[in-house]
Symmetry: C2
Subunit: 338 residues, 2 copies
């Protein structure tokens, strides 16, 4: 059986091509009986509209692009899952485009992707969400896009955000509530500003609780497991080490835990450790890690929804969505001084 075209369906149903098109695209203004007749013909011929013909005629690809640069595997997968859920609902597909920021090709590559009509719009994940050069290029090229978790959003571009800072604040307060007074903090990679901002929540919580911010307890990490371990080494070598360490992400927190094991420090009795992100390692490590879970898939789904709305020409009224994190208390935190 050779592939049926829209003409075959039209002939079989005894209507015009255009009417079939209307039915396929669920456009209004088709009499119910006509619609049924056409649908029957479609089913009989197992007709599937040709994607490329539609794209050429309608001048859009029905494909969205997902741009990312190396956050963790589980993050990317969650984003993909969420984005795909929304895409499918709308008959869109998702093209993945990992890329290296700081490369010259990045911008040309991305522009080509859109100019060739391979994708209709883009989803950006951190740290790309904060690449101003990229964002500006997209804006001035008139390319629709939505950013996930950007830190700067003074521009009126749509984005989806979490209350990260608030969550970091809450986590710090929780540690204080557990009796901790010297709480170490491992700052995230300076280029990942979303992660960096968690520091702000930490600072706010200290202030709120009348604790002084001891700079010797704040160390700079780079988001990796190894950098977390390095930071822990620094914090734990001190004559007056902290009784708790809050790392800006789980990978670094895992590094802290390993370093503590190597120093025979018992957790949480002698040291409480908290992370951020709830990556798989968080509950595969010993002791299991107290952390913060972001609704990543939901954020991505929301981002796609916003993007699709843009593509329909409806200028997004509220071009942003804020979603909530949740603190997950596991075995790595406990009361201070026990």
């Amino acid at each position: 059986m050779v592939k049926a075209t829209i003409d075959d369906v039209a002939a079989l149903a005894g209507v015009s091509m255009k009417t079939v098109s209307r039915v396929v695209n669920k456009e209004p203004n088709v009499r119910a009986s006509t619609r049924d007749k056409v649908q029957a013909a479609i089913d009989e011929l197992a007709y599937r509209p040709s994607q490329s013909a539609r794209s050429l005629a309608a001048n859009r690809s029905y494909v969205l692009g997902l741009l990312y640069d190396n956050p963790s595997a589980s993050y990317v997968i969650d984003v993909q899952d969420g984005a795909l859920a929304s895409c499918r609902r709308a008959g869109y597909d998702l093209l993945i485009h990992p890329c290296k920021r700081d490369t010259v090709e990045l911008l040309t590559e991305v522009l080509a992707l859109v100019r060739q009509g391979r994708v209709d719009g883009l989803i950006l994940t951190p740290p790309l969400s904060d690449m101003t050069e990229l964002v500006q290029t997209l804006v001035s090229a008139g390319i629709p896009f939505v950013r996930l978790s950007p830190t700067e959003y003074k521009d009126a571009c749509p984005y989806v955000q979490t209350n990260d800072q608030e969550a970091a604040y809450d986590m710090t307060c929780r540690l204080i509530e557990l009796g901790h007074r010297r709480i170490g903090f491992i700052v995230g990679h300076p280029d990942h500003r979303a992660v960096t901002q968690r520091y702000t929540g930490y600072v706010a919580a200290l202030k709120e609780n009348d604790l002084v911010l001891d700079k010797s307890l704040v160390v700079q990490g780079y988001n990796s497991f190894d950098s977390g371990r390095e930071c822990a080494r620094e914090l734990l070598s001190s004559a007056t080490p902290p009784s708790a360490i809050f790392a800006s992400n789980d990978d670094m927190a895992a590094g802290v835990i390993i370093e503590a094991h190597h120093r025979s420090i018992t957790m949480p009795a002698e040291l409480s450790v908290a992370g951020f992100d709830d990556t798989p390692v968080a509950h595969q490590i010993y002791p299991s890690l107290t952390t913060v879970r972001q609704p990543i898939a939901e954020m991505a789904a929301k981002a796609v929804d916003l993007l699709l709305k843009q593509l329909k020409g409806k200028s997004v009224q509220i071009p942003a969505a804020i979603m909530s994190c949740r603190i997950l208390e596991r075995e790595s935190t406990g009361e201070a001084g026990r």
Copy 2:
């Protein structure tokens, strides 16, 4: 500046449309001087061929589909990276299509993807590589595809495989060499036959070393961290527990390590633990996990190469590629009885 078409380029270069097409597609039989002239025009106009027009005319999408069902995040990401590397080299894009096996829609969905001309061919990852129903459907629909790590390949369909069984054999031999005589084994999920086969390597190694296969040391896991922990509970509760446990994947091995911690068993002094896959958790856990690394990205890249070769009509001569694993010895294994 409105988007330039092939006609604009042809006019500017003073040649025919077809010549431009030849240059763009790097076809032979174009005089160098002509080629240069055309290229100059392309550059001047910043011409980018329309993907949909090419697809419609050439009757292919220049997109490959990646089908997967829930292996670990890091596995999928590695596959994506490898597949994309090859795709880009060939001017192809990659569409991701996670799906649930055992659902009725799976087959129709996948068929629709191809029938609509969204993708030209498919890459299947385990456990989908072993879904005979899917494979047969693709074959009889004449859809080009390549499988990653299938366990059954009597059919002549192209695939990419690793020497898993050999690696499991080697790992077991290594444990024996370290003095272990009672080596527990955690079998993988029965539906993931690739993982299941690792058991064969274990059995072969015991035999080779004149050790009896003690069935009480072999327990059935389900690939998850939790199931690994459950299995460890069973193995370690025995009156004569094993001195080493070899799990069919890292997640389960991580479960073993956590369970051992909870029982205050020192590793590797009292218990050696080995995994398979080298997932991120393998070196984020304490003690870091001895495991086997598969060249996943390379396999995926190879699979794409085989697929593209098929698409070019060249029937793949040797429709298969075998790639090698590597054992990574870390802290979780050591000499027996110390």
